[in-house]
Symmetry: C2
Subunit: 438 residues, 2 copies
Amino acid sequence: MPLIQSIDSALHTNIGQHGVPTEALDAALARTEAALDWLRARHADGGLPLLQLPATHSDLPELRDRAVALADRATDIVLLGTGGSSLGGQTLAQLAGYMVPGVGALRAGPRLHFMDNLDPDSFGSLLKHLPLQTSRFVSISKSGGTGETLMQTIAVLSALHEASLGPRIPDIFLGLSEPAKPGKKNSLRELLGQYKVPMLDHHTGVGGRFSVLTNVGLLPAAMLGLDVVAIREGASLALKPVLDKRPAKEVPAALGAALSVALAETKNKGISVVMAYADRLERFTRWYVQLWAESLGKDGKGTTPIGALGPVDQHSQLQLFIAGPRDKLFTVITTDRAGKGPRMDKKLSEVAGEPGFGGKTIGDLVGAQGRATAETLAKNGCPVRTMHVPQIDEESMGELLMHFMLETIIAAHLLGVDAFDQPAVEEGKVLAKKYLTA
Amino acid sequence: MPLIQSIDSALHTNIGQHGVPTEALDAALARTEAALDWLRARHADGGLPLLQLPATHSDLPELRDRAVALADRATDIVLLGTGGSSLGGQTLAQLAGYMVPGVGALRAGPRLHFMDNLDPDSFGSLLKHLPLQTSRFVSISKSGGTGETLMQTIAVLSALHEASLGPRIPDIFLGLSEPAKPGKKNSLRELLGQYKVPMLDHHTGVGGRFSVLTNVGLLPAAMLGLDVVAIREGASLALKPVLDKRPAKEVPAALGAALSVALAETKNKGISVVMAYADRLERFTRWYVQLWAESLGKDGKGTTPIGALGPVDQHSQLQLFIAGPRDKLFTVITTDRAGKGPRMDKKLSEVAGEPGFGGKTIGDLVGAQGRATAETLAKNGCPVRTMHVPQIDEESMGELLMHFMLETIIAAHLLGVDAFDQPAVEEGKVLAKKYLTA
């Protein structure tokens, strides 16, 4: 069963003055039709390769073979790459418990280290404590020129040499970058080429923050034994209503984009909070933050994304969400929780003064909390969209990922910005290099 | 050497129209004097026990003994507690590598599991895979009535019974809650009292999000062998200019609060971004988010905090920060990085087409990036405060923590809200319990 979205609690008619007025929503929805036409045209002519991925399976067997071969007998797998070269992989890896409190540290199988931030202490410590003999490395950069990734890669290559593992580098290292183009330097390929490191091709038509369904996201997923076919199939569920030419209001991604843009334009909701009631969606919220921020934040436009987790952020951000400035749209993501997890002993529940807990499960409480938070926000006049998936697995994750990529592209169309560039970050990069070499 | 703060790049005179006008800053600064007087009066009369903590050492030997005894021969330490009962401990634990990519998973010593979110899958997995024989548990709730913490505690007690470890519970479990008061139920104490679990007292005058310098934060820190005295001493550095009756503009916390409130009131900067260039400050940014959001987000007031990490979020949120809506104040936190971390091989740097990397360290690049990001934001007219500490250690962490607690309290004074309550979250709690037992 696919994703169920409701915007009932975001409507002016239901929650009052901070809800979206019917006419503003309808107007924005009408404007999404052109974006949906554009998506269908790009699906037909192949102009946006992202849209071909859900139905593509031919690349997956080789990807799985590569992943399995690299992970074989490894104690540690180190993923070098930042931003969109890492967050998609982390998001999928969390399905297998990566960085989930109480789960990640007790998982069987190789430890994964996504080194997406550059930190001299962390990287020094990693190279000092990593069992290099049984470690594997994957270096990911679309352009091949990402400074952080190049530095990390150079440091690892040097460490392997020092450990006399130089001859094994082609067996324990993998690179992922765009194919070499005549006349254009690809630094990562040149660097790894010196060591005959096998290279996978980064899709040239899919940018970093949209790359989770390519080998960039699926390679780490496959190394963890996840069902990469189901991830792509889940993505097709989100694309289907677009390709089926459903009216915009029946395309969840179009409805979400229209809601967000209409609330920003008519009600000054400049912040978009995505609050997920599942540990395994924590990295997903961070992936969403990059996707939304970097795709829409240009020309003075866009709204500011915030990721939150439930129930823990009820004890952190919820006070502000309910009682602070009315500048937010909320998306609350829930899953079927009833009856799941450890069940409460009746006698202990009574001792704890919570007889109502007796016989209930942890999932029963989490389910009640997700529902209560969405309703409390709405009762207090905050616009809320709810999204529900039966469970967090490969299929629903694929659907959520594609939903938000489509929603972002449609929102960019409504705002009149290019979803696929990020021109503002160049200036700082140039300046940093100047300071580095000064 | 203590924290160095500069607001030069947030001033109208330096960055133009989005900077704070001199008169608005001066007016807000003048209003902080009353808050500083209030703080000094509370320090003198003991009315705000938080202010006594930096100079208090008498409780630390027993706390360390408890921590060492509990951690002795443990493979795993599970911390039950949410919100302010967890984030302070996590923030300090990160000094020892907790949840630092590439570091946390390779650390020697017991694994720490801060179960601050409630998730049936995660908690079920934890209890299934945890080596119960060698695990220790700490349950933290100020009131003793936090539903999530009670459920987790009941589940652990049941699991220990099932594993025939019932008789060992008093040796492997520790509770932390307010002292029992006549006529007021403390559920956690009653529950753990059944098993003769030793209890530490939660300070009655220090609320969760301000509790990092009490045993709530310092117990986990001590279990990791951190220098808890230095944490408190660092905190005293931030308090000193207040107690020394320095003029407001020379009290960093007052200057920060005045800047933030003046920019919100005169320039609509409704979002406060704290971007730290250090892996070991990632949990600190989350701790800050709770502190700022829950203390100030009331009566329609407050600004929305966002935590970010550098350089990784240059590849995620920076595009929006620079080119999106002008609704943000930025705080960029940097440390001395020059010469630190792995050094780049000259030949490999040349092969990678980055001869400028040769002989430089990862820290050299990170240092250059932190500086470049702050300057690029300012050049683009975004108000930036910079904060610099020589290194991330117990002392500087203590200073940062106390700085932001003071800044938050002073900002609350300027906004006219109560920094210490969180009335808006009750409604959802009641509703969740209703749904749970329906």
